[in-house]
Amino acid sequence: MNPIFKHGPSPQHRLLLVLFCSASLIFFDHKMNSFENVRGFLQSMVSPLQYLATTPKQMMNWAAENIVTRRQLINENQQYKIAELSFHQQLLELEIIKKENERLRLLLASPLRGEVKKMVAEILSVNSDPYSHQVVINRGSDDGVFEGQPVLDDEGIVGQVLHVGINSSRVILITDVTHAVPVRVSRNGVRLVASGAGQIDRLTHNFVPHSYDIRSGDLLVTSGLGNKYPEGYPVARVTTVVHNDANAFAMVRSEPVAKIERLRYLLLLWPEKSPGIFAPSQKPVSPKQTKNDKSENKKGSTNADS
């Protein structure tokens, strides 16, 4: 092959071709969202590369897990036992409160909250692109993952599923610039929207009137509006509130409670269809159901008694 003589089209023509292709790709992907289906296919096509890229990290993890002393293991075990004991005690309390809550909800004729199905997922890769905060997890459509599914870690909301491949999928984090979560202040129920700021430790809240009662340190939980995230999961903690009368709105910033920069295991949720607070018209509690529930309650109480 002699590079002195030109072969094929000139670089300018090739560049024009690629520029045209990429411009149309950008237009159709960003403005028209025409690649939603293709994205899933592409995601499963490149997932071998992602599995391959994560092997060194997994080997390190494996080594770190296997090369520990007996003493460390014993210590860890002891800690876990103590933690389990206290969790168990909390669980007992929770059971009672749950029952009580269900009964109160029945009295108010509000729909009951069902059990939420969960699945643990592991992070395959974290996006190295600084402009978008996304991670890839090792669950896909084979595991029943769907688009828009809420993703948590052990502390709070992490994000939602963006594209689903066959055995891997992409999760957009709450700190991404294009993402926002409807939240409320858990102290008094004031509603806000938490939008990502493109920084790993910050969420911003736009259009917050000066009159709202928000203080730094307030916990923000999902409000369940928008039907994406189930209600009541912690999202962020308010860090700064600045009331400057020169501006129309207060400046509120918060920090995600989930350890976004240290994610490893995630929880996928399958929320119930038609979350309760929005469905007053639909008679959720039929008499038969209440009876069943009551008998269950009774059974529960008798069990507790015995």
Binding site: G8, L15, A53, V177, E261
Partner: protein, 159 residues
């Protein structure tokens, strides 16, 4: 043996792709060099008839899918960066390795700026100086990558 040569070129590009999505600690991650750009620039300098702008566009598209960015952003940036090499490969070939490293550094800066401009245009991204940190590591990486890839090319007699 063109098929074997092609496979070796594809293999090096795949390794670069894997290196560019490999999970790293957050503090090192901002310094991740542009592996894919370096490998593409080398092959474009060495074999401009085989690896050219269309290859670069295709690899950029793969990078888009791997990074989950808007399809076409890295395609465009990669193609423009490689276009500069493809237009001037006869000049750049005769430079010393360190001069080439500087040119690759400029290309890498251009690449990151194009990606940033596209993101700025499409979403409301804000410029942070850390977006240009990879330029430094790319300059440092180039001589080593160049020597390694030249060894590979000579060993397998890729033409």
């Amino acid at each position: 043996m063109p098929i074997r040569n092609l496979l070796i070129i594809i293999f090096t590009i795949l390794i670069a792709l894997i290196a560019s999505i490999m999970p790293l600690p957050l503090s090192i991650d901002v310094f991740r060099p542009d592996w894919v750009l370096v490998v593409l620039v080398y092959w474009c300098l060495a074999l401009p008839a085989r690896v050219n702008i269309i290859t670069a566009g295709f690899v950029g598209l793969l990078l888009d899918v791997l990074l989950g960015s808007i399809l076409g952003v890295h395609t465009l940036a990669m193609a423009l960066a490689v276009y500069i090499i493809a237009g001037n490969f006869q000049k750049i070939r005769n430079f010393s390795v360190w001069q080439q490293a500087l040119i690759v550094g400029v290309l890498s800066a251009l690449y990151h700026l194009i990606v940033f401009w596209m993101q700025r245009f499409l979403t409301d991204a804000v410029f942070l100086p850390s977006y240009l940190y990879p330029v430094i590591t790319t300059i440092i990486l180039w001589p080593w990558a160049f020597l390694l890839l030249r060894k590979v090319r000579r060993h397998f007699r890729i033409t």
